[in-house]
Symmetry: C2
Protein backbone atom coordinates (compact mmCIF):
# COMPACT_ATOMS: atom_id res chain seq x y z
CA UNK A 1 0.00 0.00 0.00
CA UNK A 2 1.19 3.52 -0.82
CA UNK A 3 -0.07 6.15 1.62
CA UNK A 4 0.00 9.80 0.54
CA UNK A 5 0.03 11.62 3.85
CA UNK A 6 -0.49 15.37 4.30
CA UNK A 7 1.67 17.02 6.97
CA UNK A 8 -0.29 20.25 7.33
CA UNK A 9 1.28 23.68 7.34
CA UNK A 10 3.21 24.25 10.55
CA UNK A 11 5.57 21.88 12.27
CA UNK A 12 5.80 18.24 13.38
CA UNK A 13 2.58 18.43 15.41
CA UNK A 14 0.39 19.31 12.44
CA UNK A 15 0.18 15.73 11.20
CA UNK A 16 -3.09 13.97 12.07
CA UNK A 17 -3.24 11.04 14.49
CA UNK A 18 -4.13 8.79 11.54
CA UNK A 19 -1.17 10.14 9.57
CA UNK A 20 1.26 9.54 12.42
CA UNK A 21 -0.02 5.99 12.95
CA UNK A 22 0.67 5.28 9.27
CA UNK A 23 4.16 6.81 9.32
CA UNK A 24 4.99 4.66 12.36
CA UNK A 25 3.91 1.41 10.69
CA UNK A 26 5.45 2.01 7.24
CA UNK A 27 8.71 0.32 6.37
CA UNK A 28 9.77 3.15 4.05
CA UNK A 29 8.89 6.83 4.41
CA UNK A 30 9.55 9.37 1.65
CA UNK A 31 9.36 13.15 2.13
CA UNK A 32 8.28 15.19 -0.88
CA UNK A 33 10.59 18.19 -0.85
CA UNK A 34 9.89 20.33 -3.90
CA UNK A 35 6.38 21.81 -3.85
CA UNK A 36 6.47 23.20 -0.31
CA UNK A 37 8.43 23.17 2.92
CA UNK A 38 7.55 22.92 6.60
CA UNK A 39 9.04 25.18 9.23
CA UNK A 40 10.29 21.89 10.69
CA UNK A 41 13.17 20.44 8.71
CA UNK A 42 13.89 16.83 7.76
CA UNK A 43 15.98 16.09 10.86
CA UNK A 44 13.26 17.39 13.21
CA UNK A 45 10.70 15.18 11.47
CA UNK A 46 13.03 12.17 11.65
CA UNK A 47 13.57 12.71 15.35
CA UNK A 48 9.84 13.08 15.95
CA UNK A 49 8.88 9.96 13.98
CA UNK A 50 11.86 7.98 15.21
CA UNK A 51 12.68 6.90 11.67
CA UNK A 52 14.74 7.87 8.68
CA UNK A 53 13.13 9.80 5.83
CA UNK A 54 14.07 9.41 2.18
CA UNK A 55 14.10 12.81 0.47
CA UNK A 56 12.04 12.83 -2.71
CA UNK A 57 12.88 15.73 -5.02
CA UNK A 58 11.14 16.52 -8.29
CA UNK A 59 13.52 14.39 -10.36
CA UNK A 60 12.94 11.39 -8.14
CA UNK A 61 9.13 11.69 -8.17
CA UNK A 62 8.78 12.52 -11.86
CA UNK A 63 11.31 10.03 -13.13
CA UNK A 64 12.53 7.57 -10.59
CA UNK A 65 9.63 6.74 -8.31
CA UNK A 66 9.79 3.17 -9.59
CA UNK A 67 11.74 2.09 -6.51
CA UNK A 68 9.09 3.53 -4.19
CA UNK A 69 6.24 1.92 -6.13
CA UNK A 70 7.96 -1.45 -6.30
CA UNK A 71 8.45 -1.35 -2.52
CA UNK A 72 4.77 -0.44 -2.05
CA UNK A 73 3.77 -3.64 -3.86
CA UNK A 74 4.71 -5.73 -0.87
CA UNK A 75 5.21 -3.29 1.99
CA UNK A 76 3.50 -0.27 3.51
CA UNK A 77 5.17 2.85 2.14
CA UNK A 78 4.36 6.46 3.04
CA UNK A 79 4.89 9.50 0.84
CA UNK A 80 4.71 12.65 2.98
CA UNK A 81 3.60 15.94 1.48
CA UNK A 82 3.49 19.35 3.17
CA UNK A 83 -0.11 20.65 3.36
CA UNK A 84 -2.70 18.36 1.78
CA UNK A 85 -1.29 15.58 -0.43
CA UNK A 86 -3.33 17.00 -3.33
CA UNK A 87 -2.92 20.71 -2.60
CA UNK A 88 -0.03 22.03 -4.66
CA UNK A 89 -0.21 19.22 -7.20
CA UNK A 90 -2.57 16.30 -7.58
CA UNK A 91 0.29 13.81 -7.69
CA UNK A 92 -2.02 12.17 -10.23
CA UNK A 93 0.96 10.92 -12.12
CA UNK A 94 2.15 8.95 -9.13
CA UNK A 95 -1.33 7.62 -8.34
CA UNK A 96 -1.90 6.52 -11.91
CA UNK A 97 1.44 4.71 -12.07
CA UNK A 98 0.59 3.02 -8.78
CA UNK A 99 -2.74 1.94 -10.24
CA UNK A 100 -1.04 0.50 -13.34
CA UNK A 101 1.31 -1.53 -11.15
CA UNK A 102 -1.59 -2.78 -9.04
CA UNK A 103 -0.40 -0.84 -5.99
CA UNK A 104 -3.24 0.39 -3.80
CA UNK A 105 -3.10 4.03 -2.69
CA UNK A 106 -4.70 5.78 0.22
CA UNK A 107 -4.88 9.51 0.93
CA UNK A 108 -4.57 11.08 4.35
CA UNK A 109 -5.79 14.65 3.98
CA UNK A 110 -4.63 17.66 5.92
CA UNK A 111 -4.76 21.46 5.99
CA UNK A 112 -3.70 23.30 2.86
CA UNK A 113 -3.00 26.94 2.13
CA UNK A 114 -5.99 26.72 -0.25
CA UNK A 115 -8.31 26.70 2.77
CA UNK A 116 -6.07 28.07 5.54
CA UNK A 117 -5.98 31.34 3.56
CA UNK A 118 -9.38 31.91 5.19
CA UNK A 119 -7.47 33.11 8.26
CA UNK A 120 -7.38 36.59 6.70
CA UNK A 121 -11.16 36.77 7.03
CA UNK A 122 -12.12 36.31 3.39
CA UNK A 123 -14.94 33.89 2.64
CA UNK A 124 -13.53 30.75 0.94
CA UNK A 125 -16.67 30.46 -1.21
CA UNK A 126 -15.78 33.74 -2.88
CA UNK A 127 -12.41 32.68 -4.26
CA UNK A 128 -12.10 32.08 -7.98
CA UNK A 129 -9.37 30.19 -9.77
CA UNK A 130 -6.06 29.97 -7.85
CA UNK A 131 -3.01 31.28 -9.68
CA UNK A 132 0.73 30.68 -9.41
CA UNK A 133 3.09 33.63 -9.67
CA UNK A 134 6.56 32.68 -10.88
CA UNK A 135 9.78 34.52 -10.06
CA UNK A 136 10.82 36.48 -13.11
CA UNK A 137 14.30 36.23 -14.52
CA UNK A 138 16.10 38.78 -16.70
CA UNK A 139 14.84 37.15 -19.87
CA UNK A 140 11.62 35.42 -18.79
CA UNK A 141 8.76 37.55 -17.46
CA UNK A 142 5.49 35.66 -18.03
CA UNK A 143 2.30 37.33 -16.86
CA UNK A 144 -0.51 34.99 -17.82
CA UNK A 145 -1.72 35.10 -14.20
CA UNK A 146 -2.77 38.73 -14.77
CA UNK A 147 -5.63 37.56 -17.00
CA UNK A 148 -6.83 35.07 -14.41
CA UNK A 149 -6.83 37.70 -11.66
CA UNK A 150 -8.71 40.02 -14.05
CA UNK A 151 -11.31 37.33 -14.84
CA UNK A 152 -11.83 36.59 -11.14
CA UNK A 153 -12.18 40.29 -10.31
CA UNK A 154 -14.71 40.86 -13.09
CA UNK A 155 -16.87 38.27 -11.33
CA UNK A 156 -16.21 39.85 -7.92
CA UNK A 157 -14.09 36.87 -6.84
CA UNK A 158 -10.92 36.81 -4.75
CA UNK A 159 -7.67 35.35 -6.12
CA UNK A 160 -5.21 33.35 -4.08
CA UNK A 161 -1.74 33.72 -5.59
CA UNK A 162 0.65 30.92 -4.71
CA UNK A 163 4.20 32.18 -4.88
CA UNK A 164 7.12 30.50 -6.57
CA UNK A 165 9.46 28.14 -4.75
CA UNK A 166 12.79 27.25 -6.30
CA UNK A 167 14.26 24.07 -4.80
CA UNK A 168 17.31 22.33 -6.20
CA UNK A 169 17.42 24.53 -9.31
CA UNK A 170 20.50 24.62 -11.54
CA UNK A 171 21.83 27.69 -13.33
CA UNK A 172 21.70 27.57 -17.13
CA UNK A 173 25.50 27.39 -17.08
CA UNK A 174 25.51 24.35 -14.81
CA UNK A 175 22.82 22.65 -16.91
CA UNK A 176 24.85 23.20 -20.10
CA UNK A 177 28.02 21.97 -18.46
CA UNK A 178 26.15 18.98 -17.03
CA UNK A 179 27.17 19.83 -13.46
CA UNK A 180 24.96 18.69 -10.57
CA UNK A 181 25.43 21.95 -8.68
CA UNK A 182 22.22 23.31 -7.21
CA UNK A 183 21.38 26.90 -6.30
CA UNK A 184 20.27 27.67 -2.73
CA UNK A 185 16.46 27.45 -2.31
CA UNK A 186 14.55 30.65 -3.10
CA UNK A 187 11.09 31.58 -1.92
CA UNK A 188 9.17 34.39 -3.56
CA UNK A 189 7.94 37.01 -1.08
CA UNK A 190 4.59 38.81 -1.02
CA UNK A 191 6.43 42.05 -1.75
CA UNK A 192 8.13 40.56 -4.83
CA UNK A 193 4.74 39.32 -6.04
CA UNK A 194 3.15 42.75 -5.49
CA UNK A 195 6.06 44.34 -7.34
CA UNK A 196 5.59 42.04 -10.34
CA UNK A 197 1.86 42.83 -10.42
CA UNK A 198 2.72 46.55 -10.47
CA UNK A 199 5.22 46.05 -13.30
CA UNK A 200 2.56 44.23 -15.34
CA UNK A 201 0.25 47.19 -14.67
CA UNK A 202 2.86 49.54 -16.16
CA UNK A 203 3.22 47.33 -19.23
CA UNK A 204 -0.57 47.26 -19.71
CA UNK A 205 -0.70 51.07 -19.47
CA UNK A 206 2.14 51.40 -21.99
CA UNK A 207 0.20 49.09 -24.30
CA UNK A 208 -2.63 51.63 -24.10
CA UNK A 209 -5.12 49.65 -22.00
CA UNK A 210 -7.65 52.16 -20.66
CA UNK A 211 -7.63 52.85 -16.91
CA UNK A 212 -11.14 51.39 -16.48
CA UNK A 213 -10.15 48.13 -18.20
CA UNK A 214 -7.20 47.39 -15.94
CA UNK A 215 -7.67 44.53 -13.47
CA UNK A 216 -6.38 46.64 -10.57
CA UNK A 217 -4.51 49.82 -9.73
CA UNK A 218 -1.47 50.44 -7.55
CA UNK A 219 -3.96 51.56 -4.93
CA UNK A 220 -5.90 48.26 -5.03
CA UNK A 221 -6.05 46.13 -1.92
CA UNK A 222 -4.02 42.99 -1.48
CA UNK A 223 -3.35 40.73 1.48
CA UNK A 224 0.08 39.31 2.19
CA UNK A 225 0.23 36.11 4.25
CA UNK A 226 3.37 34.59 5.71
CA UNK A 227 3.92 31.27 7.48
CA UNK A 228 0.18 30.54 7.70
CA UNK A 229 -0.64 27.98 10.36
CA UNK A 230 2.58 28.52 12.35
CA UNK A 231 3.22 30.41 15.59
CA UNK A 232 4.82 33.27 13.65
CA UNK A 233 2.01 33.66 11.09
CA UNK A 234 1.67 37.19 9.74
CA UNK A 235 -1.13 38.78 7.74
CA UNK A 236 -0.97 42.29 6.29
CA UNK A 237 -3.67 44.12 4.33
CA UNK A 238 -2.34 47.00 2.25
CA UNK A 239 -2.34 48.59 -1.18
CA UNK A 240 -0.28 46.82 -3.84
CA UNK A 241 2.07 49.81 -3.76
CA UNK A 242 2.65 49.51 -0.01
CA UNK A 243 2.86 45.70 -0.16
CA UNK A 244 5.71 45.95 -2.65
CA UNK A 245 7.92 47.36 0.12
CA UNK A 246 6.52 45.32 3.00
CA UNK A 247 8.74 42.75 4.74
CA UNK A 248 6.77 39.76 6.08
CA UNK A 249 9.86 37.81 7.17
CA UNK A 250 10.75 34.21 6.36
CA UNK A 251 8.96 31.83 3.96
CA UNK A 252 6.40 30.72 2.86
CA UNK A 253 4.44 33.71 1.59
CA UNK A 254 1.16 33.98 -0.33
CA UNK A 255 -0.71 36.95 -1.75
CA UNK A 256 -4.44 37.49 -2.12
CA UNK A 257 -6.01 39.97 -4.54
CA UNK A 258 -9.58 40.36 -3.30
CA UNK A 259 -12.65 40.85 -5.47
CA UNK A 260 -15.88 42.33 -4.13
CA UNK A 261 -15.77 42.57 -0.35
CA UNK A 262 -18.62 41.79 2.01
CA UNK A 263 -18.92 44.15 5.02
CA UNK A 264 -18.01 41.25 7.35
CA UNK A 265 -14.87 40.61 5.29
CA UNK A 266 -13.91 44.27 5.59
CA UNK A 267 -14.41 44.08 9.35
CA UNK A 268 -11.99 41.17 9.54
CA UNK A 269 -9.41 42.73 7.18
CA UNK A 270 -9.40 45.82 9.39
CA UNK A 271 -7.48 43.75 11.95
CA UNK A 272 -4.57 43.42 9.51
CA UNK A 273 -4.37 46.96 8.15
CA UNK A 274 -1.24 49.09 8.44
CA UNK A 275 -2.40 52.34 6.79
CA UNK A 276 -5.74 53.18 8.41
CA UNK A 277 -6.46 56.27 6.27
CA UNK A 278 -6.06 54.26 3.07
CA UNK A 279 -8.33 51.51 4.43
CA UNK A 280 -11.07 53.97 5.47
CA UNK A 281 -11.04 55.33 1.92
CA UNK A 282 -11.38 51.75 0.53
CA UNK A 283 -14.34 51.10 2.85
CA UNK A 284 -15.97 54.41 1.93
CA UNK A 285 -15.72 53.59 -1.78
CA UNK A 286 -16.95 50.01 -1.33
CA UNK A 287 -20.23 51.21 0.21
CA UNK A 288 -20.90 53.90 -2.42
Amino acid sequence: MLYLVGLGLGDVKDITLRGLEIVKKCSKVYLESYTSVLSAGQSQLEKFYGKELILADREMVEQGSEEMLQAAKNEDVAFLVVGDPLGATTHSDLMLRAHELGVQTRLVHNASILTAVGCCGLQLYSFGETVSIVLWTESWKPHSYYDKIAANRRRGLHTLCLLDIKMKEKTVENIIKGRDIYEPPRFMTASEAADQLLQILETKKEEGVAEGDLAYSENSMCIGLARVGTETQQVVCASLRDMSSCDLGGPLHSLVVPGKLHPMELEMLKLFVVDQAWFDEVCRRSTE
Copy 2:
Protein backbone atom coordinates in the same frame (compact mmCIF):
# COMPACT_ATOMS: atom_id res chain seq x y z
CA MET B 1 -7.81 32.02 24.68
CA LEU B 2 -10.40 30.67 22.20
CA TYR B 3 -9.06 27.93 19.96
CA LEU B 4 -10.94 27.12 16.75
CA VAL B 5 -9.87 23.57 16.03
CA GLY B 6 -10.54 21.70 12.78
CA LEU B 7 -11.41 18.01 13.16
CA GLY B 8 -10.81 16.93 9.56
CA LEU B 9 -13.23 14.83 7.59
CA GLY B 10 -13.26 11.28 8.86
CA ASP B 11 -13.36 10.12 12.45
CA VAL B 12 -11.70 10.77 15.80
CA LYS B 13 -8.19 10.14 14.45
CA ASP B 14 -8.34 12.93 11.88
CA ILE B 15 -7.58 15.63 14.42
CA THR B 16 -3.96 16.86 14.37
CA LEU B 17 -1.57 16.25 17.25
CA ARG B 18 -1.62 19.99 17.95
CA GLY B 19 -5.43 19.97 17.93
CA LEU B 20 -5.62 17.05 20.36
CA GLU B 21 -3.11 18.69 22.72
CA ILE B 22 -5.31 21.78 22.82
CA VAL B 23 -8.53 19.83 23.40
CA LYS B 24 -6.86 18.02 26.30
CA LYS B 25 -5.76 21.23 28.02
CA CYS B 26 -8.96 23.25 27.53
CA SER B 27 -11.38 23.61 30.43
CA LYS B 28 -14.40 23.88 28.12
CA VAL B 29 -14.81 22.21 24.71
CA TYR B 30 -17.64 23.11 22.32
CA LEU B 31 -18.57 21.06 19.25
CA GLU B 32 -20.01 22.99 16.29
CA SER B 33 -22.84 20.82 15.04
CA TYR B 34 -24.64 22.59 12.23
CA THR B 35 -22.39 23.11 9.20
CA SER B 36 -21.10 19.54 8.92
CA VAL B 37 -20.92 16.22 10.73
CA LEU B 38 -18.23 13.61 11.33
CA SER B 39 -18.81 9.91 10.85
CA ALA B 40 -17.88 9.77 14.55
CA GLY B 41 -20.65 11.03 16.79
CA GLN B 42 -20.46 13.19 19.89
CA SER B 43 -20.19 10.28 22.31
CA GLN B 44 -17.30 8.70 20.38
CA LEU B 45 -15.44 12.01 20.44
CA GLU B 46 -16.11 12.42 24.16
CA LYS B 47 -14.79 8.95 24.88
CA PHE B 48 -11.70 9.57 22.76
CA TYR B 49 -10.89 12.94 24.36
CA GLY B 50 -11.88 11.81 27.84
CA LYS B 51 -14.00 14.91 28.31
CA GLU B 52 -17.51 16.21 27.90
CA LEU B 53 -18.41 18.25 24.82
CA ILE B 54 -20.90 21.09 24.79
CA LEU B 55 -22.99 20.93 21.62
CA ALA B 56 -23.07 24.25 19.78
CA ASP B 57 -25.94 24.55 17.32
CA ARG B 58 -26.55 27.50 15.01
CA GLU B 59 -28.75 29.32 17.52
CA MET B 60 -26.10 29.04 20.19
CA VAL B 61 -23.27 30.26 17.95
CA GLU B 62 -25.18 33.05 16.23
CA GLN B 63 -26.97 34.35 19.30
CA GLY B 64 -25.71 32.93 22.51
CA SER B 65 -21.99 32.43 22.24
CA GLU B 66 -21.54 35.06 24.95
CA GLU B 67 -21.08 32.34 27.57
CA MET B 68 -18.30 30.70 25.54
CA LEU B 69 -16.54 34.01 24.92
CA GLN B 70 -16.79 35.06 28.56
CA ALA B 71 -15.23 31.76 29.60
CA ALA B 72 -12.45 32.25 27.04
CA LYS B 73 -11.50 35.52 28.72
CA ASN B 74 -9.94 33.69 31.65
CA GLU B 75 -9.69 30.06 30.56
CA ASP B 76 -8.61 28.04 27.53
CA VAL B 77 -11.71 27.18 25.51
CA ALA B 78 -11.87 25.08 22.33
CA PHE B 79 -14.49 25.32 19.60
CA LEU B 80 -14.33 22.19 17.42
CA VAL B 81 -15.39 22.34 13.79
CA VAL B 82 -15.61 19.45 11.31
CA GLY B 83 -13.18 19.98 8.42
CA ASP B 84 -11.18 23.19 8.58
CA PRO B 85 -12.45 25.76 11.09
CA LEU B 86 -12.88 28.20 8.20
CA GLY B 87 -14.13 25.80 5.54
CA ALA B 88 -17.91 25.89 5.49
CA THR B 89 -18.12 29.30 7.11
CA THR B 90 -15.45 31.77 8.18
CA HIS B 91 -16.87 31.97 11.70
CA SER B 92 -15.81 35.60 11.25
CA ASP B 93 -18.70 36.69 13.39
CA LEU B 94 -17.37 34.71 16.33
CA MET B 95 -13.79 35.86 15.77
CA LEU B 96 -14.84 39.52 15.56
CA ARG B 97 -16.88 39.30 18.76
CA ALA B 98 -13.93 37.65 20.47
CA HIS B 99 -11.71 40.50 19.27
CA GLU B 100 -14.15 43.11 20.63
CA LEU B 101 -14.14 41.41 24.03
CA GLY B 102 -10.34 41.27 24.05
CA VAL B 103 -10.36 37.45 23.77
CA GLN B 104 -7.43 36.09 21.77
CA THR B 105 -8.23 33.48 19.11
CA ARG B 106 -6.04 30.85 17.52
CA LEU B 107 -6.84 28.64 14.52
CA VAL B 108 -5.83 25.00 14.18
CA HIS B 109 -6.32 24.13 10.53
CA ASN B 110 -7.26 20.75 9.11
CA ALA B 111 -8.44 19.04 5.94
CA SER B 112 -11.55 20.41 4.25
CA ILE B 113 -13.74 19.11 1.45
CA LEU B 114 -12.58 22.22 -0.45
CA THR B 115 -9.19 20.55 -0.95
CA ALA B 116 -9.96 16.87 -0.27
CA VAL B 117 -12.19 16.99 -3.37
CA GLY B 118 -8.90 16.58 -5.25
CA CYS B 119 -9.21 12.83 -4.51
CA CYS B 120 -11.29 12.51 -7.68
CA GLY B 121 -8.25 13.49 -9.72
CA LEU B 122 -9.24 17.02 -10.69
CA GLN B 123 -6.59 19.70 -10.34
CA LEU B 124 -7.49 22.03 -7.43
CA TYR B 125 -6.05 25.02 -9.31
CA SER B 126 -8.75 24.59 -11.93
CA PHE B 127 -11.73 25.01 -9.63
CA GLY B 128 -13.70 28.25 -9.84
CA GLU B 129 -16.11 29.61 -7.28
CA THR B 130 -17.59 27.01 -4.92
CA VAL B 131 -21.39 26.86 -4.83
CA SER B 132 -23.95 25.61 -2.33
CA ILE B 133 -26.95 23.67 -3.56
CA VAL B 134 -29.96 23.91 -1.28
CA LEU B 135 -32.67 21.29 -0.91
CA TRP B 136 -35.76 22.54 -2.68
CA THR B 137 -39.13 22.65 -0.98
CA GLU B 138 -42.55 22.66 -2.63
CA SER B 139 -42.64 26.44 -2.69
CA TRP B 140 -38.95 27.43 -2.72
CA LYS B 141 -36.80 26.36 -5.64
CA PRO B 142 -33.89 28.80 -5.92
CA HIS B 143 -31.38 28.18 -8.70
CA SER B 144 -28.86 31.00 -8.43
CA TYR B 145 -26.08 28.39 -8.34
CA TYR B 146 -26.83 27.57 -12.00
CA ASP B 147 -25.36 30.94 -13.06
CA LYS B 148 -22.21 30.34 -11.04
CA ILE B 149 -21.68 26.90 -12.56
CA ALA B 150 -22.27 28.46 -15.99
CA ALA B 151 -19.74 31.24 -15.32
CA ASN B 152 -17.14 28.71 -14.14
CA ARG B 153 -17.73 26.48 -17.18
CA ARG B 154 -17.42 29.40 -19.59
CA ARG B 155 -13.91 29.86 -18.18
CA GLY B 156 -13.20 26.12 -18.34
CA LEU B 157 -13.24 25.83 -14.54
CA HIS B 158 -14.59 23.05 -12.36
CA THR B 159 -17.32 23.71 -9.79
CA LEU B 160 -17.48 22.07 -6.38
CA CYS B 161 -21.10 21.95 -5.22
CA LEU B 162 -21.52 21.65 -1.47
CA LEU B 163 -24.83 20.01 -0.69
CA ASP B 164 -27.40 21.14 1.81
CA ILE B 165 -27.46 19.91 5.39
CA LYS B 166 -30.52 20.45 7.51
CA MET B 167 -29.80 20.13 11.20
CA LYS B 168 -32.31 21.04 13.92
CA GLU B 169 -34.78 22.57 11.45
CA LYS B 170 -38.37 23.31 12.44
CA THR B 171 -41.40 22.95 10.18
CA VAL B 172 -43.22 26.18 9.32
CA GLU B 173 -46.11 24.92 11.44
CA ASN B 174 -43.89 24.41 14.47
CA ILE B 175 -42.27 27.83 13.98
CA ILE B 176 -45.69 29.51 13.85
CA LYS B 177 -46.91 27.64 16.90
CA GLY B 178 -43.67 28.45 18.71
CA ARG B 179 -42.93 24.79 19.39
CA ASP B 180 -39.32 23.67 19.86
CA ILE B 181 -39.83 20.48 17.87
CA TYR B 182 -37.03 19.73 15.42
CA GLU B 183 -37.15 17.66 12.24
CA PRO B 184 -34.69 14.76 11.86
CA PRO B 185 -31.40 15.81 10.18
CA ARG B 186 -31.42 15.66 6.37
CA PHE B 187 -28.43 15.45 4.07
CA MET B 188 -28.77 16.20 0.38
CA THR B 189 -27.44 13.42 -1.83
CA ALA B 190 -25.43 13.70 -5.04
CA SER B 191 -28.38 12.20 -6.91
CA GLU B 192 -30.79 14.81 -5.52
CA ALA B 193 -28.35 17.54 -6.54
CA ALA B 194 -28.02 16.09 -10.07
CA ASP B 195 -31.81 15.88 -10.28
CA GLN B 196 -32.19 19.55 -9.33
CA LEU B 197 -29.59 20.53 -11.93
CA LEU B 198 -31.60 18.61 -14.55
CA GLN B 199 -34.84 20.29 -13.49
CA ILE B 200 -33.18 23.71 -13.85
CA LEU B 201 -32.09 22.63 -17.34
CA GLU B 202 -35.71 21.89 -18.25
CA THR B 203 -36.80 25.30 -16.95
CA LYS B 204 -34.08 27.03 -18.99
CA LYS B 205 -35.18 25.16 -22.12
CA GLU B 206 -38.82 26.12 -21.50
CA GLU B 207 -37.69 29.73 -21.15
CA GLY B 208 -36.27 29.41 -24.65
CA VAL B 209 -32.54 29.42 -23.85
CA ALA B 210 -30.75 28.06 -26.94
CA GLU B 211 -29.03 24.66 -26.62
CA GLY B 212 -25.57 26.19 -27.15
CA ASP B 213 -26.11 28.71 -24.35
CA LEU B 214 -26.99 26.16 -21.69
CA ALA B 215 -24.36 25.59 -19.01
CA TYR B 216 -24.59 21.80 -19.40
CA SER B 217 -26.72 19.01 -20.85
CA GLU B 218 -28.17 15.88 -19.26
CA ASN B 219 -25.24 14.08 -20.86
CA SER B 220 -22.63 16.33 -19.19
CA MET B 221 -20.16 14.79 -16.81
CA CYS B 222 -20.42 15.16 -13.08
CA ILE B 223 -18.61 13.53 -10.19
CA GLY B 224 -20.40 12.41 -7.07
CA LEU B 225 -18.33 12.10 -3.89
CA ALA B 226 -19.49 10.49 -0.66
CA ARG B 227 -17.85 10.37 2.76
CA VAL B 228 -14.56 11.81 1.47
CA GLY B 229 -11.65 11.07 3.78
CA THR B 230 -13.31 8.08 5.46
CA GLU B 231 -12.78 4.34 5.01
CA THR B 232 -16.02 4.08 3.03
CA GLN B 233 -15.30 6.96 0.65
CA GLN B 234 -16.96 6.61 -2.74
CA VAL B 235 -16.38 8.51 -5.97
CA VAL B 236 -18.48 8.07 -9.10
CA CYS B 237 -18.04 9.76 -12.46
CA ALA B 238 -21.18 9.71 -14.63
CA SER B 239 -23.52 11.80 -16.73
CA LEU B 240 -25.90 14.08 -14.82
CA ARG B 241 -28.75 11.84 -16.01
CA ASP B 242 -27.13 8.70 -14.58
CA MET B 243 -26.03 10.46 -11.40
CA SER B 244 -29.64 11.41 -10.69
CA SER B 245 -30.41 7.73 -10.05
CA CYS B 246 -27.10 6.78 -8.43
CA ASP B 247 -27.04 5.75 -4.76
CA LEU B 248 -23.76 6.68 -3.04
CA GLY B 249 -24.92 5.61 0.42
CA GLY B 250 -24.80 7.57 3.67
CA PRO B 251 -23.81 11.25 4.12
CA LEU B 252 -21.99 13.53 3.43
CA HIS B 253 -22.16 13.91 -0.34
CA SER B 254 -20.72 16.51 -2.72
CA LEU B 255 -21.03 16.98 -6.44
CA VAL B 256 -18.50 18.34 -8.92
CA VAL B 257 -19.41 19.75 -12.33
CA PRO B 258 -16.12 19.78 -14.25
CA GLY B 259 -15.03 22.40 -16.75
CA LYS B 260 -12.33 21.76 -19.33
CA LEU B 261 -10.54 18.50 -18.60
CA HIS B 262 -6.81 17.91 -18.91
CA PRO B 263 -5.82 14.47 -20.29
CA MET B 264 -4.30 13.56 -16.90
CA GLU B 265 -7.58 14.46 -15.21
CA LEU B 266 -9.47 12.22 -17.64
CA GLU B 267 -7.04 9.39 -16.87
CA MET B 268 -7.83 9.72 -13.17
CA LEU B 269 -11.60 10.05 -13.67
CA LYS B 270 -11.54 6.83 -15.68
CA LEU B 271 -10.96 5.01 -12.38
CA PHE B 272 -14.39 6.14 -11.18
CA VAL B 273 -16.49 5.57 -14.27
CA VAL B 274 -19.53 3.29 -14.31
CA ASP B 275 -20.63 3.58 -17.96
CA GLN B 276 -17.48 3.01 -20.03
CA ALA B 277 -19.12 3.64 -23.43
CA TRP B 278 -20.40 7.04 -22.32
CA PHE B 279 -16.96 7.94 -20.93
CA ASP B 280 -15.15 6.92 -24.14
CA GLU B 281 -17.48 9.21 -26.05
CA VAL B 282 -16.70 12.09 -23.63
CA CYS B 283 -12.96 11.51 -24.10
CA ARG B 284 -13.33 11.34 -27.88
CA ARG B 285 -15.17 14.68 -27.93
CA SER B 286 -12.73 16.35 -25.52
CA THR B 287 -9.80 15.69 -27.88
CA GLU B 288 -11.61 16.89 -31.01
